[in-house]
Amino acid sequence: MKKYASFKIAIVAGLGLATMGLASSASAEMASGQVLANTCFSCHGPAGHSVGAMPSLAGKDGEAIKFLLEGYRSGNLKGTVMNRIAKGYSTGEIEALAGYFSSQAK
C-alpha cells in the first residue's frame, strides 16, 4: 500500500504549491485519507479498531479493503449499509481510505 501513500503525498504537495496564496475554497478538491477515514471510525472504531460487531479495518491489507469497497459500490458484493455508503466515494477516495487503514497498526 506504499504506492497509495506516496501518490497522496505527491497530490497534496502539488496542490499546496498550486493554491498557495489563493482562497481556501480553492484548496484540495479531494479530502485526505485521514479526513475521509475519520467518519468511518463512528462504526469501525477509533483509527479502524472496532469495538463491536463491525469489522476492524486497522492494519488490513489495502488491496483487500479496495476490493471490498469497490465490490460494495458496484453491487457485486452484498452488505447491509455498506452498499449505500460505498456509492458515495470515488476510486481515488477508496484508494486513499485503503491507504490510511492499511498503514494503521493492528
Binding site: 485526505s32 475519520n38 458515495g88
Partner: protein, 428 residues
C-alpha cells in the same frame, strides 16, 4: 493608588496594545503559530467531546478546555433501549476520564456568556477563560411555549426524555408502574428536531416491552407531521411484530397537539382529546440555551454557520457544531455531530496556524431498533460544493423493505456495534 502602580499598569496596557499592533502589522498567522493556541469547547456530548478529543489528536500542543456541567454524559442514542427495558442507564452513561487522559482540561461548570469581542467565556462560578477559537456544541433546548399548558416544570412529572439522564429513568419508571391494559400516549415534535427516527424507535421499543410484559396495553401517537423518518420501515416492522398495538395519528388524522393538561394526563387536538396512563410529549426544539444567549442564533432559533469550517456567520472565531447548527442537509444526529466535530477540529487547527481549512467529506448512518433483534438504518455520504454541504448523488438511503429476518438481525447487531465504536471513539 500610588503613582508607581498606575504607571506599571499603564505600561502593561501599552505593551499589550503594542503587542497586538505588531501582530496585526506583521504576518499574523506566523505569530499565532508560534504561540500555544487556546481552544474552549462548550458541551461534552457527541459534538463537543469529539471536538475536544480530536483537537488534541490533531495538535497535542493545543490548550483545550472543555466545559460541561454534568460529571458524566448520558447519551440520547440507545436511551430508547433503557426506556424499553433492554439496557440499564449505566449502559448509556459515558465518563470524561478518557478525555482527561488525552490532555483535555475538563471543567464541570456552566457557561453563562460567550464574549465574541473579548474572546472569552464566563462561567457560572464567575471565572472567565480566554480563547483563540471557541467550539460550541450546546445541543437543543425546548420551545415549551409552542403548546398551551406545557412547561419545563410539567416535564419534571411528564418527561419528554429527549435529553437523556433523569428524564430517561423517569419515563422508564412510569412505564414500569403502568398497569397491563394501559395507554402510552406519545407526541413527537415538529421538524426540525434532534434524532428524526428517534420517536419511531421509542414507539417500537415501548411496544416491545408491552408485548412481553403488558400485552393488553396500547400506544397512541399524535404526530403533528404527515410523514416521519423511516416511516415505511417502521410501519412494516410494527405490522409484523406488534399488530394492532399502535394507533398512529398523523397531521391529517387530527394528530396536532394544541394543549396539554398535566393533571388529567390529556393532550388536546383540534377536534378531540386523548388521555394516557403515561404521556410523553416531546416539545418543538431550538439550539441549546447558550447559543441564544451568545447571539449565535437566527430567528428560527438555530445557528447559521460556514459549512466548511462550522464558524458562525454571526460571530467570528466561534464555531457551532451538532444539533444546534444549521448543517442541512445533514440530520441532527449524534453521528452527524461527531463527524462534524472532526471536520471542525481540523479547520480550527488549520486556521490557528494560518493555513487553509480542508475540504469536508463525511457520512452519517442512523440505526434504529424495532426490537432487540430487528434493526433498520438510513445512511448518506456528504461532500462539499459551492460553499455548501451536499449529498453525494447515488449514495445513501434506507434499509430495504421486505428484507429477511437475518438482514434485520444483522442490522440490530450493527446498531449496538455502532454505539460501542462511536462512544469509544469520542469518550475513549
Amino acid at each position: 493608588m500610588s503613582k508607581k502602580n498606575i504607571s506599571r499598569r499603564t505600561f502593561n496596557q501599552l505593551l499589550g496594545a503594542a503587542g497586538a499592533a505588531t501582530a496585526v502589522g506583521l504576518a499574523a498567522p506566523s505569530v499565532m503559530a508560534a504561540g500555544k493556541g487556546r481552544v474552549v469547547v462548550i458541551g461534552g456530548g457527541f459534538g463537543g467531546a469529539t471536538a475536544a478529543n480530536y483537537l488534541k489528536q490533531f495538535d497535542p500542543s493545543l490548550d483545550v478546555t472543555m466545559i460541561e456541567p454534568n460529571k458524566t454524559f448520558v447519551t440520547c442514542p440507545f436511551s430508547n433501549t433503557v426506556i424499553g427495558g433492554l439496557n440499564d442507564i449505566s449502559f448509556i452513561t459515558q465518563s470524561f476520564d478518557g478525555l482527561r487522559a488525552r490532555g483535555v482540561n475538563v471543567v464541570h461548570d456552566m457557561v453563562t456568556m460567550i464574549d465574541a469581542a473579548k474572546k472569552e467565556v464566563t462561567l457560572s462560578s464567575g471565572k472567565t477563560i480566554y480563547f483563540d477559537r471557541c467550539i460550541v456544541s450546546p445541543g437543543i433546548d425546548f420551545k415549551y411555549e409552542a403548546i398551551e399548558g406545557n412547561s419545563a416544570a410539567l416535564a419534571e412529572t411528564m418527561p419528554h426524555a429527549w435529553k437523556a439522564g433523569p428524564q430517561t429513568s423517569l419515563l422508564r419508571k412510569q412505564l414500569e408502574a403502568m398497569p397491563n391494559g394501559g395507554t402510552f400516549l406519545i407526541s413527537p415534535p415538529p421538524n426540525p428536531f434532534r434524532c428524526p427516527p428517534g420517536p419511531g424507535e421509542r414507539i417500537s421499543l415501548v411496544a416491545n416491552y408491552f408485548k412481553q410484559h403488558k400485552p393488553k396495553s396500547k400506544i397512541i401517537v399524535l404526530d403533528p407531521k404527515q410523514k416521519f423518518s423511516k416511516q415505511g420501515l417502521f410501519k412494516e416492522g410494527w405490522a409484523k411484530l406488534y399488530p394492532g398495538m399502535i394507533d398512529y395519528r398523523h397531521q391529517s388524522d387530527d394528530g396536532v397537539v394544541l394543549r396539554v393538561d398535566g393533571d388529567k394526563k390529556t393532550l388536546y387536538t383540534d377536534f378531540g382529546e386523548v388521555t394516557g396512563d403515561v404521556v410523553n410529549l416531546i416539545p418543538a426544539q431550538k439550539a441549546g440555551k447558550i447559543a441564544a444567549i451568545a447571539g449565535l442564533t437566527n430567528d428560527q432559533g438555530w445557528c447559521p454557520i460556514n459549512q466548511q469550517t462550522f464558524e458562525s456567520t454571526i460571530h467570528k472565531n466561534i464555531h457551532v457544531i451538532g444539533d444546534a447548527s444549521v448543517s442541512t442537509p445533514m440530520p441532527k444526529s449524534g453521528f452527524a455531530a461527531s463527524t462534524q466535530a472532526k471536520i471542525c477540529a481540523g479547520a480550527v487547527v488549520a486556521m490557528l496556524k494560518g493555513e487553509a481549512p480542508g475540504t469536508p467529506k463525511f457520512a452519517n448512518t442512523c440505526y434504529s431498533l424495532v426490537s432487540a433483534d430487528y434493526g433498520i438504518s438510513v445512511a448518506m455520504v456528504y461532500g462539499f460544493a459551492d460553499g455548501h454541504i451536499t449529498k453525494i448523488k447515488g449514495s445513501g438511503g434506507l434499509s430495504p423493505t421486505g428484507a429477511s429476518d437475518s438482514f434485520r438481525k444483522q442490522e440490530a447487531n450493527y446498531a449496538e456495534g455502532w454505539y460501542k465504536s462511536i462512544t469509544k471513539d469520542i469518550w475513549g
